[in-house]
Symmetry: none
DNA sequence: ACTACTATGTAATTTTATTACATAATATTG
DNA sequence: CAATATTATGTAATAAAATTACATAGTAGT
């Protein structure tokens, strides 16, 4: 629609062009305005605005506004821009959410499906899961615990390295470790994972490609998010990690066949009223 | 917006529900209709339609239609499809991530900026923050705690109702409560919030529009996500809630002016190597 | 069963969009 | 370069739509 206005502009009558200019100058504002507001902004009469709409093949002003609004809504490409102190609430929201979306799109494009399949197989072959992560990654670990829990095998998350270490040393070859880290360079976590490996547990990491943690793990689900401009630490990676683990959990569920899905649906219904 | 209507529906008055049903039944047609048309289709009076729009936090019918139209337009971009057992890893990933993205787009389109501004002001005016959430929402509360923590005021998250209750009773008018819930109908949480209000604390809720919790809170940051087809419980709402609280936190930070941003940057550098 | 409150509708009012018509501007032709 | 036709634009009237103010019906609580 915007493009249509632009290309139609020169073929319009003089006063209609004024209307086109006003709308092109601030389309977001225009969709909220009345004919009156636009007419006076453009310095033309109200019928002129209607004629303008008709020239654009709309039956009236309302339809024109509707089309324009839909156009504006779907134009959204999600590119990340830094927030600045003078952003309005709307700008802030748009920027942060677009950033989050962009990082999810990124994950979608980079996720390694072989690794995912291997991780799913590890889950199927194990008899219990331990999740390790500290700081922000502890949140992700807990979230994943909630999910994996309902798939039928014991799952527990530890965030304190002093507990992770002894816990890891008690694992065996039937245990699965999921180690979560943004940078993959947290020394405590690396030590924990090494202990788990020495105990012959399988290790899936959720971290940056080529990081020490990714190298150490049996399988890495890569989450490479640049947090370049966030005021806060890894918010976007946290989202991305959560989604990756969600994919793992759902993957396990669907590979488990009909009966697992069925059981999950049951579990869900039972929990729903509590899970708020 | 559609999701918003769905989740708000049960909290509406009877005749407003009729309006909701008419619109949900054929949203594409509704955006082109006048109040009259919708009113007569729903078998209610015209003012009822307006009241319905206001209940959805729109200033009038026009704004409502506009939002709905924009919602319909962007709905096609990332649409959610159910996962099936024979999905490949790639299909699984695409489906789940698109679902997550769609829910973030929703949040972007529906967030109420006035409410956001008020919530930011509450933070600025308070001297400590308590976050309440159970189950999945406890994860969100902890995540938010991590963020708010660094803005300079004490923040603590409680997930156990038996701890939330006494904690809430000890609050005073300088305390800010952030209550998180998917449905906004968790009785324990409602009780906690009532206790907090009786203690004169300010309450910001992060939950579904028109839910009992939203009604009870001083300000609600609406997160209306339909989890219709997820195998797991509120994963998408959890993401959405986290993002909304991230927006709140960043909003507080940027409104705090240059010096707060500076301090945060310092804090971040200091923590970075730990915060993995 | 009465009171108070909430929900809903009716009718008036205001705002918004549209039409019909008049006038001004521009082009066309003798 | 008039005179006239044609097109463009505005004014004022009208119709439609949205909104408000108010009245009444319904409901919950005593």
């Amino acid at each position: 629609m915007l493009a249509k206005i632009k290309s139609a502009r020169d073929g319009l009558r003089k006063s209609e062009q004024k209307v086109a200019d006003v709308i092109l100058a601030d389309p977001d504002n225009s969709v909220q305005s009345s004919i009156q507001a636009i007419a006076s902004l453009a310095g033309v009469s109200e019928p002129t605005v209607i004629r303008f709409c008709r020239a654009l093949e709309c039956v009236g002003f309302q339809q024109f506004k509707l089309r324009l609004a839909q156009d504006l809504a779907s134009r959204g490409t999600f590119f990340y821009r830094d927030v600045t102190p003078d952003d309005s609430g709307k700008e802030l929201t748009t920027k942060l959410i677009d950033g989050a979306i962009a990082s999810l799109v990124h994950v979608r494009n980079q996720l390694n499906y072989d690794a995912l399949d291997k991780a799913i197989q590890f889950y199927i072959d194990c008899n219990r899961i331990e999740l390790y992560g500290s700081g922000g990654s502890a949140i992700v670990a807990e979230d994943a615990q909630l999910k994996l829990f309902r798939l039928g095998k014991p799952a527990i998350a530890y965030s304190d390295p002093h507990i992770q270490h002894p816990a890891a040393s008690l694992l065996d070859k039937d245990a699965l470790v999921i180690a979560i880290s943004h940078s993959g360079r947290n020394q405590d976590l690396l030590t924990t994972v090494q202990i788990a490996k020495d105990a012959r547990a399988k290790v899936v990491s959720v971290t940056a490609t080529k990081s020490p943690l990714a190298e150490l793990a049996d399988v890495n689900l890569s989450v490479d998010i640049v947090e370049d401009s966030d005021i806060f630490s890894p918010v976007k990676s946290r989202l991305a990690q959560m989604v990756v683990l969600d994919i793992l959990a759902v993957g396990v569920a669907v590979r488990g066949g009909e009966e697992m899905l069925h059981q999950l649906a049951k579990a869900r219904r039972a929990i729903d009223f509590k899970f708020v």
